[in-house]
Symmetry: C2
Subunit: 185 residues, 2 copies
DNA sequence: TATGCTATTGACTGATTAGTCAGTTTTCTT
DNA sequence: AAGAAAACTGACTAATCAGTCAATAGCATA
């Protein structure tokens, strides 16, 4: 594995355990098994390292979930697929999950940054469609998107805290109904 | 105003603007107009200052909202009152809102800490009642509570970002229906 | 082989910060 | 008033940390 990737992986783990400010750049380099200087060769500042990681995670979430939505699906099926994929991705990538959570409440986070990403744009298009067709409540698409994201996060936190996995289909559907009912008309 | 209170208010403002680690204790003391040493007289460590502030906010949220729930109210009315009170409180106390948000995603936060508070206990009792009576979905009370809290937070963020207030009754109800539908059977 | 570019190292630095401490002032108690 | 306790001050320190830099190694191309 190249050193840039090693740095990103190590940083993600340490950030998710100790937070951005609780993790010294020197420690990231040490635990990644590279020199201190090379970190600043690839990421001129700590801020840029953090931002690069944010896009890395969103890219991978996009690749993971969007491929699962098939063309002929109904709106509810598409939303379900995206909802489940987001939960699975966050359960399987614990460090990514914690990292994003911290990033979004940190001073690094700006809404513009997020809006740029195609994952968010795809979700917003889908929600707009649901509002136009009268299937969703008359509520701003951005608020619906944020609300859904928050529910995914809440659900993942809950499952992890209770050492649960989504193996019970009936329970999974009940969880989804909670999210779906909040936006459906 | 006594110096302890001055310190808490100043800390809350600075923390909400620059984060916990972005705010030096010396700066808190300076901007509060007191000496550096007195901060550590009242709060032996920075961590204890942060924890004291968390309880301060939850106490005030409790006082603000619980008084508004009247005895004869239906379950939906009580939930609505608590929901609206939480939104109003967070809109009116921007620094508290930002502070709590950061606290809950920081290493300082532990679930046990939160569980101790009577505000949370009151909400959980109400939700348990709703589940028992068959008015709510068959989903763990803790998950419902977290989901509602997340929706309040999302809503407040959205209103603030768009410089909105809750003066439109019809819109307010539509927002509440979003939260209510997610937990009602 | 020479030239230049990129990758890599690790010791170093200037700035910052949480927390201390020795001593002073104010307030409370008897 | 006397004595004790609590409030308060601000200069100081030991540690930490983001980022620098001068030097080396490897590699591609001409």
């Amino acid at each position: 594995m190249d050193k840039r990737t090693k740095l990103i992986l190590t940083a993600k783990r340490l950030f998710s355990e100790h937070g951005f400010y609780g993790t010294a750049t020197a420690r990231i380099a040490r635990e990644a098994g590279v020199s201190n200087g090379i970190l600043f060769h690839y990421f001129p500042t700590k801020d840029l390292l953090i931002k690069a990681m944010f896009f890395d995670v969103k890219d991978r979430l996009f690749d993971y979930s969007v491929g699962q939505v098939y063309k002929g699906a109904t709106l509810k099926e598409s939303i379900y697929t995206l909802w489940l994929a987001a939960i699975e991705f966050n359960l399987e990538n614990a460090n990514d999950f914690e990292f994003i959570r911290q990033f979004e409440t940190s001073p690094f986070y700006r809404t513009e940054t997020e809006l740029e990403h195609r994952y968010v744009q795809l979700c917003l298009e889908l929600i707009d469609k649901g509002i136009d067709e009268g299937q969703f409540k008359q509520i701003p698409a951005m608020l619906i998107f944020k609300s859904m994201s928050a529910q995914v996060e809440t659900t993942v936190r809950f499952l992890k805290m209770n050492n649960m996995v989504l193996d019970d289909v009936e329970f999974t559907h009940r969880l989804f109904e909670m999210a779906w009912d909040s936006l459906a008309k």
